[in-house]
């Protein structure tokens, strides 16, 4: 059973630019889906098509069992939280939250009750009679959330809602939004360019690049088995090390170093992907790295160096000794991902 279904949804602008290549996926009820990708990848366009703020060029969009392609945004039973909050500056918090209900011919006492409920949930009781300009960034964000939840919609849409907040508040709001979504159980689509937000909040992540969906999967799946070199390098900080390698005699090699003995690929050039934390210090290990820089991060360290002349990073715990110079290491089992050297697809 699915709640939101996209079938070959596509966006082409008048100038011929294809912002979103035909995309199909289904979202189950109550699921928290995060659309992530670099700026200009089409994730916001996709969200705006779902919201009805952009026309759909091709394909069908179904929300809660209805095809909504041509419906007005107000008729799609959705609520949206915008990046810059988009509060109505001339209305009080109370009116901001209630405005959507007021236009749906809901009795005044019901609106008042719903606004009260939402404001209690979001700790906005003391601010109901203020204007947005008298609120802090975090409070405005809460009002925007309040405006979305009073409507009790079939679908929440979030367009980078945290990117205007400072780092500390962002971490806090991230948890609040996630908790709120869990509590209300409303299906949500959340757009962000921040892979940490995607990893921490999502039930499922959709990674987009250049208008195309690169991979759809649970955060752990995306992280451990990236479908393409793009996903491998976009998700994770620092990103997965991508090295030019060769398959010969069933083994994958980077320079003189064998990184995998039973490579499931035909002989020839490949891209070898290794997560920085999957390289461990081992005095008897098969790899010898040349470390140039040690980054001290407190809880752990990042070593930047080369393997067979190619750049890579290693993530080691704070107990692991770290100096520049030669570094003997081994790989954790199953650590190596192989990608087609030409297309970047996972092998």
């Amino acid at each position: 059973m699915s709640h939101v279904t996209l079938t070959a949804l596509r966006k082409v602008y008048a100038n011929g630019f294809e912002a979103v290549k035909p995309a199909s996926y289904a979202i189950t009820p109550g699921e928290f889906v995060v659309l992530v990708g670099p700026s200009g990848c089409g994730k916001s366009t996709m969200l705006r098509m779902i919201a009805g703020l952009e026309d759909i060029s091709d394909g069908t969009l179904e929300i809660a069992g209805r095809v909504v392609n041509t419906l007005d945004p107000a008729d799609r039973d959705i609520a949206m939280v915008f990046q810059n909050y988009a509060l109505y500056p001339h209305m009080t918090v109370r009116k901001n939250i209630g405005y959507g209900l007021q236009n749906r011919k809901i009795p005044k006492d019901v609106i008042a009750a719903k606004v009260a409920e939402a404001s209690a949930l979001l700790n906005l009781d003391d601010y109901l009679d203020r204007k947005p300009s008298q609120l802090s960034g975090g409070q405005r964000q809460r009002v925007a959330m309040g405006r979305a939840i009073v409507r009790d919609p079939a679908l929440f849409l979030f367009d980078e809602p945290l990117s205007n907040l400072d780092a500390k508040l962002r971490n806090q709001m991230r948890i609040e939004i996630k908790a709120l979504q869990r509590r209300l159980g409303v299906t949500s689509i959340y757009v962000t360019h921040d892979q940490v937000e995607a990893m921490t909040m999502a039930d499922r992540i959709i990674v987009m690049n250049a208008g195309r969906i690169e991979q759809i999967g649970a955060p752990a799946e995306i992280y451990h088995t990236p479908a393409t070199t793009f996903v491998a390098s976009f998700m994770g900080a620092p990103p997965m090390n991508l090295l030019d390698g060769q398959i010969a005699g069933g083994a994958a090699r980077v320079g003189d170093h064998t990184v995998m003995t039973d490579a499931p690929a035909a002989p020839g050039p490949v891209t070898v992907g290794i997560r920085p934390e999957d390289i461990v210090a081992d005095p008897n290990g098969p790899l010898t790295l040349d470390i140039a820089i040690v980054e001290e991060l407190g809880a752990h360290r990042l070593l930047h160096g080369t393997l067979a002349g190619q750049q890579l990073s290693v993530h080691v715990g704070k107990d692991s000794p770290a100096t520049t110079g030669p570094f003997r290491a081994a790989l954790k089992p199953g650590a190596v991902s192989l990608f087609d050297a030409g297309t970047g697809e996972r092998l």
């Binding site: 919201a51 945004p73 001339h90 959507g100």
Partner: protein, 293 residues
């Protein structure tokens, strides 16, 4: 906030001097002169003057011609202000929605702005010309025998129409930039919250345009009362007869055509008080405006 300060009072005084001098010479001095003249009766040929106290003012209050001009000014100002604001707002809202050819469209709408008031008056005269004016002929189709300069109502109609036409582009530019300064996301949020376009306009767009609208209201009232002089002068050709005229035009007619400098000065003083009241009102209201951030 950091404040820069002057160590001596001389430099700021010197810097202010040119501006103060301009205001004093070109505004306060003539104003004082007008105030003084309003208490005197001048000889029409400039041979002397007699102090008459408030009699210039009291004769204004009892003059039927003055009260007629005053009432006409009130109606004229209300209609021109309301007309030019509402037409400009309508055009701006529509132009804001145009995507293709938007620039050309907007430029065309703004062009009239460059027309000087007397030229606007002349164009008005051409449009309403008694023998071949296109608008006159258009009205004739509906059986309206339009007589510019003869019929009181028709003349007033022409003055109002030309004055509105002249002012619409300025208002249009302000309204359009006001509309474009409303954040796109706020409009989109409204799109999700309210399906009715009319509802969205009155609930969201119109209140957010209020600061622009208020500013324009004041400037338009000022325009209708004072700056329409050129239009009215061209339409009346300096010979008002029984035709309508505004208070500012009456100052000119009585002072320079009728040579009644005292009475004319008294009228100027009344207008100065009006402007003062308008300005005070404007500043009071602006202080209370909310800042939308």
């Amino acid at each position: 906030m950091k404040r820069a300060g002057f160590t001596s009072a001389w430099l700021p005084a010197m810097l202010l001097l040119p501006q103060l001098a301009v205001i004093a010479i070109f505004f306060y001095w003539p104003a004082a002169h007008a105030l003084r003249s309003s208490f005197y009766l001048q000889d029409p040929f400039g041979f002397g003057e007699t102090f008459v106290g408030l009699s210039n003012f009291t004769s204004l209050l009892t003059s039927a011609a003055y009260s007629r001009a005053a009432w006409f000014t009130v109606f004229f100002t209300l209609i021109v202000t309301f007309g030019s604001l509402s037409i400009a707002l309508l055009l701006a809202v529509k132009a804001d929605k145009v995507i293709r050819g938007a620039k050309t469209y907007r430029t065309l709408l703004m062009w009239v702005y460059a027309v000087a008031p007397p030229v606007a008056g002349v164009i008005g005269l051409i449009m309403f010309n008694q023998s071949w004016g296109p608008l006159k002929e258009f009205f004739a189709l509906f059986g309206w025998d339009f007589k510019l300069g003869v019929n009181y109502f028709d003349t007033a109609f022409a003055m109002i129409a030309v004055s509105i036409w002249k002012q619409v582009p300025v208002n249009f530019i302000f309204f359009l930039s006001g509309l474009q300064s409303i954040p796109k996301s706020v409009r989109e949020a409204a799109l999700i919250d309210n399906r009715s376009a009319t509802g969205r306009f009155w609930d969201i767009t119109f209140p957010l345009l209020a600061p622009t609208g208020f500013f324009l209201l004041i400037t338009n009232i000022t325009y209708a009362m004072f700056d329409t002089f050129g239009v009215i002068d061209t339409v009346l050709k300096g010979q008002p007869g029984n035709n309508p005229m505004t208070l500012v035009y009456k100052v000119y007619v009585d002072g320079f055509r009728g040579n009644d400098l005292g009475g004319s000065s008294a009228q100027s003083v009344v207008l100065m008080v009006l402007v003062l009241a308008l300005t005070v009102f404007q500043f009071r209201m602006i202080e209370r405006r909310i800042h939308y951030t």
